[in-house]
Amino acid sequence: MQRAALILLPWLAILAAWYAVHHSGLINPALVPAPHAVAARFAELGTGRLPLDVLMSTRRVLTGVALGIALAVPVGFLLGWYRQVRTFVDPLVNFFRALPPIALIPLVIVYFGVDELAKTVILFYAAFFAGVIVMYEGIAQISPIYLRVARTLGASDSEIFLKVVVPMTVPHMLTALRVALGVAWATLVASELIAAQQGLGALIQDAASFFQLDIIYVGIISIGFIALAMDLVLRAIARRLLVWQERLA
């Protein structure tokens, strides 16, 4: 009960601040739609295009992240494991990671067109570089003592990989997944700027052309809540997989 109140409190505070700004007269009220107006829009769009937009965006994010992480796990593993390789590849990874995915959009349009593939490529890019760093830094930190212990108990190379390295990698995989999801949502709007018909980014973009601020708010709030929901799901998974850890991811 008290917990629920504590969780709700900051949200109510935001809502109150929002109303305060709306009514304060400091800003033209037309520029700050009232929360209830946004809620009404939400309900209206909920029976209209919103479900499809949510579906499309979620699908793109999940596809991009799935592909990005599928590659980031083995690559991050190799980089974390072989220090020599890391020395060479580190600057490369940092170079590409430093490029904002948005800056690549014109190039992606040239090479991949304007349909689903282009958006998947951008999200894949974002997810891969976010995930690969987390993976390899995590793996590089694994203490070699566990490998030594396993060897002295008679473990072969393949047994060491399956019974020591993999379990020690799981926490880093989950963290990589969480970070990648976060970055992917952040990149979503940019990716859907590539002439998307559907998606939350497209919703926001369309609304912006007609100066429909309330719809822009609906889009932004939807993105936030979906990201939050995904993070909660991932945390629940982490709690199950990582019961042995002191602090949960």
């Binding site: 003592i145 030594r148 212990v149 008679g154 002191e246």
Partner: protein
Amino acid sequence: MTDRIVFEDVSVAFGPPERRLQVVDNVSYAIGDGEFVSVIGPSGCGKTTMLNMVAGFMKPSAGRVLLDGRPVAGPGPDRGVIFQEYGVFPWLTVRQNIEFGLKLRANRRDAARRAEISDRYMRLMGLEDFADAWPRMLSGGMRQRLALARAYAVEPQFLLMDEPFGALDAQTRSAMQNLLLEVLRTEGKTVMLITHSVEEALYLSARVVVMTARPTRIREIVEVPFGYPRAEALHEQPEFGRLRSHLRDLVMQEYAAQARQRFAVTD
């Protein structure tokens, strides 16, 4: 007595030729079957390096390290290794840690036999109430007992211990020493123990090898004239006190030599 571990003119140097660090310098000694030998010397002199060669983690630059007459080829389940940092697998429960080695191809046992073995060592090490606990819930002493149980489970003939009790408080440390003596009495092993503590070396071993500062050589090998089983009262015996003072003198001299060296290196 047959020699089981033999150091034969062993030297070790690290680093490239132009900045070569000589660590072990022509060391020869042997550890006999069922013998408990402690190696003591200033930190940084090369004790871990010597143990690592027996464990099979590295090879000497010159000379040979022999195990039952054959040069050590690599790590193996015939040699249980106990580290100061325990190395208990945090993602496995106490029981799963003990059974880890028994699920490997090298020493696979069926489930019933595994349970039997882990039950036995949990009882022996006083861990029976923690079978399903995660290592993070255990104290340092319990983790070290778990590491010992896990090593024992695959029935090694040798026990190689690198300052195993160094991180424990005095009470726990002394309890661990007695537990180790107790376990060794029922299941004898050939033991090489590296320690900082003169007291510990004397109380546990049949022989103490005192090493010099780096590059380390044998300073002196001290025979410990007490039989087994041993009990705490041994600490009060005059002969124990005499050997303790003697060993302390040797070790202090070498610590001082090693400390001077460290200054020389940083200059």
